[in-house]
């Protein structure tokens, strides 16, 4: 499967995502430059983590106006698969390709840790290699990952199954103490209502090799690779 990973000025995890996809998972992946409009025939576009444009104004607010984002928006409108990780999630929210917004962590502190996540909906291109209720252990590293959305929007997200991942404790309960950033309803990852755009704060690309703390991140990439086949 063909993947394109977008590099914005200030992206940090573009090369890690490329490594995970190409070198670890054997996918056909290439970097895309934010100033280009071509997506290089990618079947899935990845917006990586980092601090695009220094997080100036709001995280993702300026990157969303990069030339490539026009192509990403029309690609998504045509049903193309788009995955936003961390800053990529923030960019997708700013671009209105995903509902809601990501704000300063409740603690005001940058969090760098492993979290437990529960798969809430496994019938999507991003989670189909997992099963509903499965626990994934992935790393997080962010200062602004507190997911917020209006109450009626949250209700719709629940009803349509757009919440794909939640922060949970070791027993799989969405307890407040297991919520690392204050996200509403412990939301760690959401999809759009057509289920072809997905954003999450945790980093699957940093969890594809046992030596580096776990391989749970493979589930996300393997789901996508399977979906496009």
């Amino acid at each position: 499967m063909k993947w394109g990973v977008v590099s914005f000025p200030g992206s940090l995890d573009d090369r890690d995502a490329l490594w995970a996809l190409r070198d670890v998972l054997g996918q056909d992946a290439a970097l895309l430059w934010h100033k280009d409009e071509a997506l290089g025939g990618a079947e899935c576009v990845v917006l990586p983590g980092g601090f695009s444009y220094g997080d100036y104004l709001r995280c993702g607010a300026i990157a969303r106006f990069s030339p490539i984002m026009k192509s990403v928006a029309s690609f998504a409108a045509d049903g193309g698969l788009v995955l936003g990780i961390c800053n990529g999630f923030q960019i997708l929210c700013e671009a209105h390709l995903l509902p809601g917004a990501l704000t300063r962590n409740r603690s005001l502190a940058f969090v760098c840790d492993f979290v437990n996540l529960r798969v809430e909906n496994a019938a999507t291109p991003f989670t189909r290699a997992a099963h509903r209720g499965e626990m994934l252990r992935l790393p997080i590293k962010h200062g602004e990952g507190c997911y917020v959305a209006p109450e009626d929007e949250l209700r719709q997200l629940e009803e349509r199954g757009q919440i794909l991942l939640r922060y949970v404790d070791e027993r799989g309960e969405a307890a407040d103490a297991a919520n690392p950033n204050g996200s509403m309803r412990s939301i760690a990852g959401v999809a759009n209502d057509r289920f072809n755009v997905f954003g999450l704060m945790p980093h699957p690309e940093h969890a594809v090799e046992a030596m580096l703390g776990g391989v749970a991140g493979r589930k996300i990439f393997e789901s996508i690779a399977g979906a496009a086949r």
Partner: protein, 81 residues
């Protein structure tokens, strides 16, 4: 013309910065302080033939970039000076 834009966290949205500042103010003895919200202040120069047109442009600037309507409110003043 000079515009001043004020962007603040929308009511009902948790503002941990505002809350931390409020706590600090209270511990300094300013017990009368409440509901502190921390936002952003932007000034910009805008070239427009009339004040109304400048205001309309600034409104669009706020809606498109300076504020995120999901989480923030904005207000602005245009000084024809």
């Amino acid at each position: 013309m000079r515009a001043k834009v004020f962007v603040t966290p929308r009511k009902g949205i948790l503002d941990p910065q505002g809350r931390a500042v409020e706590g600090a103010l209270k511990s300094l003895g300013f017990g009368a302080v409440g509901d502190v919200r921390v936002g952003r202040f932007v000034t910009l120069e805008i070239d427009a033939p009339s004040r109304a047109e400048a205001e309309s442009a600034v409104r669009q600037i706020c809606e498109r970039l300076l504020a995120n309507p999901n989480i923030e409110d904005f207000s602005f003043e245009v000084d024809p000076g």
